[in-house]
């Protein structure tokens, strides 16, 4: 129980991210993009488009999707899967909102680093 709580780490406040926008979290395993939708849902995805490595955090957020700024591939924020005619998958990370605070699940990161 205790362990589970500990594996979430605070990364900032909900208000730090603009609605329909994103911010980055730097980690030793690369950048993670944290998105906020119009309805204040928050999602975290690897900040790297599988097509040509574009930073998804810089894309336009619409509904619960983001469009990559380099070549307009669209990904679901919920699943990390490419939408429409494209194919591709971006890694997703669990993120939790506690009050105003944003908590990122870091076990997945550790597993990656191991």
């Amino acid at each position: 129980m205790n362990m589970a709580v500990q594996s979430f780490i605070e990364i900032g406040l909900l208000a730090d991210i603009p609605r329909l926008g994103a911010r980055c979290v730097r980690t030793p395993e690369g950048r993670i993009a944290v998105f906020r939708t119009a309805d204040d849902e928050v999602y975290a995805l690897e900040d790297r488009c599988p097509h040509r490595g574009g930073p998804l955090s810089q894309g336009i957020v619409h509904g619960s999707s983001v469009t990559c700024p380099l070549h307009n591939m669209v990904f679901s924020l919920k699943t990390g899967e490419a939408e429409g005619a494209d194919e591709g998958q971006v890694r997703t990370y669990p993120v939790r909102i506690e009050g105003e605070r944003l908590l990122l699940h870091v076990d997945a990161l550790r597993a990656l680093g191991a």
Binding site: G21, V25, G53, P55, Q58, H62, L70, V74
Partner: protein, 815 residues
């Protein structure tokens, strides 16, 4: 093994042949084309709409430059072949270019027949054959003078109607008693003559030309009966003769045309000929359907399939004169063994005649109401026994088989092999197949994939009915292209409704216009944001989350996620201080690449996003502001050095460029706007391919617009000449404001201008001072809110969140 295929001529027949060849044997040949005309393959059938002003040359191009590149074709434009050396298997152009071939295709087409009368070589005597002729006619038509067209056949009448549409006073001289006697019977010819006369075109039949008079230019035409008709322009359209001379000189068998067998092979087994220059079975051809049949046969032959042979088929003709509905097909001469069915409706101006032989239709002439033309033509070609429907046959398809069919049902009832598009030989089965397999939903889609209705366009209605039959309710012919999947409205409607309903925020637009998604998408949001910024400069709060990343952070994202920074360098002029500041910034921030841009400024590439505000701060201290190199907005005003330094300069082009840039910077536009000012017509600033350009001349400033030099290449249109710098600025600003308020998002000026019409823009900006002033004032008002340097704002802390990470994690911190 790849063989060398050389083609002489780049008209519609060889173009179509190559399309077939690339389909059935894509890698068999390396292709070289020599074209005597200095341009790509275009649709000659559509020269008449170009002449009448209904289409532009760009709209009738069949194969753009890209097509030749895609198929690795070497195209020599403006190279006429003067010799074929059959022993060495080479051809030589008049410029001395020699190419060797394994297979040679001669497609030299035909030349207009010039009647040998005195004065035929005077300036102002033209033929009607290619784009050069059309351009010469359009130029001559600007005089609004008198034109005489010699020849009352298909081509002559189209020329006459086109010249009249261009404002000329036109007389048609025709040798025979009635017009278009090869396609029409006398009754229809008479109706046509009456129609043309009612539109103000004079028609003289049984008129033979004796001479053309004039000193250096044509002044009049004299007929055999002594009549003299004043003329500033004479167009000869009395027929064509195949261009067979080159082939004859090479020793190939030549008759009227180049003699070929039914597989398009000449008397030399390695040489084929096709198109109007070829003679098959003693006949030469000038209409497109048989020429395309030749193209198919020749392509299969080149691909090694000698099965298909050319067979003479009756062809149908339509006159492409707007408002004249006329169709003829087959053989309609009278004869003992023939019967006819005639329908006349004098008040409606309708005349229909079917010629029957042994219970089959062999000819049809329709005037005034020609919709059933293809249906009759189908029966001619299929030799249908019409005994059962003879009573109602003349009334057309709608009256067959009981209750009248609606047109869509009639199309649905056509067999799969019924020809829909005569120009391009496309049958119903192919169109329906393509709609299903490729998921086509619009007329444009069908044109792109099958070429049906892509030439003269008269079968567009049939193709739309096929779309409707095939797709059912899913096809909406009136549909404008929606902005994106979030709405059914097109850009034009959305812009109109934003103004009409006074919608001043993105949520308001989405609510009132019934958006289908909750928050739009990456296509519609930037467009809506622009429309609102442009339409409500004072009221609308720019939504940065709806802007593309480059505009959101005021720098250009690069492929590796870094950014490039381009400060404004007014009119391309800089100084030691500025250059030193740039050098210091480059050193301080370890910027990997510094490059001079095409718009006369300096680009620093590879800047990390976090460094952007600091880079801007240092640049700002030296007086730099954002160059908006990332914006759908005013980019650069390129200049030459002008009268200040240049010995040819007529005005201070540099100063004017700087003045324009300082006046207009910061304005958002539907797509990027690049300008230039050249100090003299030598045009060193390349102003004639810009969105807006100025060419300075002694007497003032020539204003240009709607050029392009990117995906498309297009010279500018001339708006007009103004006398002062102030007037030049006012005109340019007004023009850009009109574009700002009317352009569709991402639509460059040249596309907007094409959509709304050059004349309309000229009318409002050049000829209507009040409108011009109103546009100008609205631009000035909007600039009050737009001219804020976004870089200094961000140096002062605006949008800080954009440039810093939310958090930096180390794994230790989590343990």
């Amino acid at each position: 093994m790849t063989e060398k295929l050389v083609i002489i001529g780049n008209g519609m027949a060889p173009g179509r042949m190559l399309e077939h060849l690339f389909e059935c044997a894509p890698d068999a040949y390396r292709v070289t084309i020599f074209n005597a005309e200095p341009r790509v393959n275009y649709d000659r059938i559509l020269l008449s709409p170009v002449l009448s002003g209904e289409k532009s040359f760009e709209e009738i191009v069949i194969h753009g430059d890209g097509w030749y590149i895609d198929h690795d074709i070497t195209l020599y434009k403006g190279h006429k072949i003067v010799e074929i050396d059959r022993a060495a298997k080479t051809v030589r152009s008049e410029h001395g270019e020699v190419a060797s071939y394994d297979k040679l295709v001669i497609a030299t087409g035909s030349a207009p027949f010039i009647i040998p009368v005195p004065g035929k070589d005077l300036a102002g005597v033209l033929t009607y054959r290619d784009l050069d002729d059309v351009e010469a006619m359009m130029l001559a038509a600007k005089s609004r003078g008198r034109a005489v067209v010699i020849g009352g056949g298909l081509l002559g009448l189209e020329a006459a109607a086109g010249l009249q549409a261009q404002g000329m006073d036109v007389t048609v001289i025709h040798l025979m008693p009635t017009l278009m006697e090869r396609q029409l019977d006398p009754a229809a010819g008479y109706l046509l003559q009456r129609e043309l006369e009612s539109r103000g075109i004079s028609v003289l039949t049984k008129a033979s030309t004796r001479a053309i008079h004039g000193e250096t230019r044509v002044q009049s035409v004299e007929l055999e009966d002594g009549t003299v008709i004043p003329a500033d322009l004479v167009v000869m359209a009395v027929g064509i003769r195949p261009n067979a001379q080159l082939a004859g000189e090479a020793g190939l068998e030549v008759n009227r045309g180049i003699v070929v067998d039914a597989r398009m092979q000449t008397s030399d087994p390695d040489i084929l000929a096709l198109g109007e220059c070829a003679e098959v079975g003693g006949a030469t051809y000038g209409l497109v359907a048989p020429l395309y049949q030749m193209a198919n046969v020749a392509a299969r032959h080149l691909a090694g399939d000698i099965g298909p042979v050319f067979a003479d088929q009756s062809t149908a003709t339509r006159l492409k004169v707007t408002g004249v509905d006329l169709y003829s097909a087959g053989d309609f001469a009278e004869g003992e063994d023939r019967e006819e069915i005639v329908l006349r409706d004098a008040s409606a101006g309708v005349y229909k005649r079917l010629v029957l032989k042994e219970n089959r239709i062999i000819g049809a002439v329709l005037y005034g109401e020609a919709a059933d033309g293809p249906w009759f033509f189908d029966h001619i070609r299929n030799r249908t026994d019409i005994s059962d429907m003879r009573e109602t046959l003349i009334f057309g398809q709608a009256y067959q088989g009981g209750a009248p069919l609606d047109p869509t049902a009639a199309v649905a009832a056509l067999p799969d092999d019924a020809e829909i598009c005569g120009c391009n030989g496309v049958c119903k089965g192919k169109i329906v197949g393509a709609i299903g397999e490729k998921g086509l939903t619009s007329l444009d889609d069908v044109r792109a994939h099958t070429k049906a209705s892509a030439s003269c366009g008269t079968c567009s209605g049939l193709v739309e009915q096929l779309l409707s039959v095939t797709l059912g309710d899913a096809y909406n012919p009136q549909a404008v292209k929606p902005m994106c999947g979030c709405t059914d409205l097109g850009h034009g409607d959305v812009r109109r409704l934003i103004k009409a309903k006074e919608l001043k925020s993105i949520p308001a637009v989405m609510q009132e216009l019934e958006w289908k998604s909750s928050h739009g998408c990456a296509k519609c949001r930037p467009a809506l944001n622009y429309y609102l910024v442009a339409d409500w400069p004072q009221d609308y709060a720019d939504d940065y989350q709806s802007r593309f990343i480059n505009e959101r952070v005021h720098a250009n994202i690069q492929k590796d996620g870094t950014y490039s920074v381009v400060p404004r360098m007014w009119g391309g002029v800089t100084s030691a201080t500025e250059l030193r500041a740039i050098a210091d910034v480059v050193d301080k921030f370890d910027i990997p690449t510094v490059k001079v841009t095409g718009g006369q400024r300096i680009d620093m590439l590879g800047v990390r996003k976090e460094d952007l505000p600091a880079v801007w701060a240092d640049l700002g201290k030296a007086g730099f502001v954002s160059g908006h190199a990332y914006a759908k907005g005013l980019r650069t005003v390129k200049t030459c050095v002008g009268s200040e330094w240049c010995r040819f300069g007529t005005q201070d082009s540099t100063g004017l460029g700087i003045r324009i840039e300082k006046f207009m910077w910061g304005s958002w536009t539907p797509a990027k706007v690049k300008m230039a000012v050249s100090g003299c017509p030598r045009n060193c600033a390349e102003a004639t391919c810009k969105d807006v350009g100025i060419i300075c001349v002694d007497s003032g400033f020539e204003i240009h617009f709607a050029g392009a030099a990117g995906l498309d290449i297009k010279g500018t249109e001339v708006l007009g000449l103004v006398k002062t710098e102030d007037a030049a600025l006012e005109h340019i600003v007004a023009l850009v404001q009109m574009y700002r308020e009317q352009g569709h998002y991402l639509e460059r000026i040249y596309k907007w201008a094409k959509r709304v019409g050059i004349d309309e823009i000229r009318e409002q900006i050049l000829n209507d001072p009040e409108r011009r002033k109103a546009w100008f004032d609205r631009f000035v008002f909007s600039q009050k809110f737009a001219q804020v340097d976004p870089w200094s704002e961000r140096v002062s802390g605006k949008d800080k969140h954009e440039f810093n990470p939310l958090a930096t994690l180390t794994l230790e911190a989590a343990e």
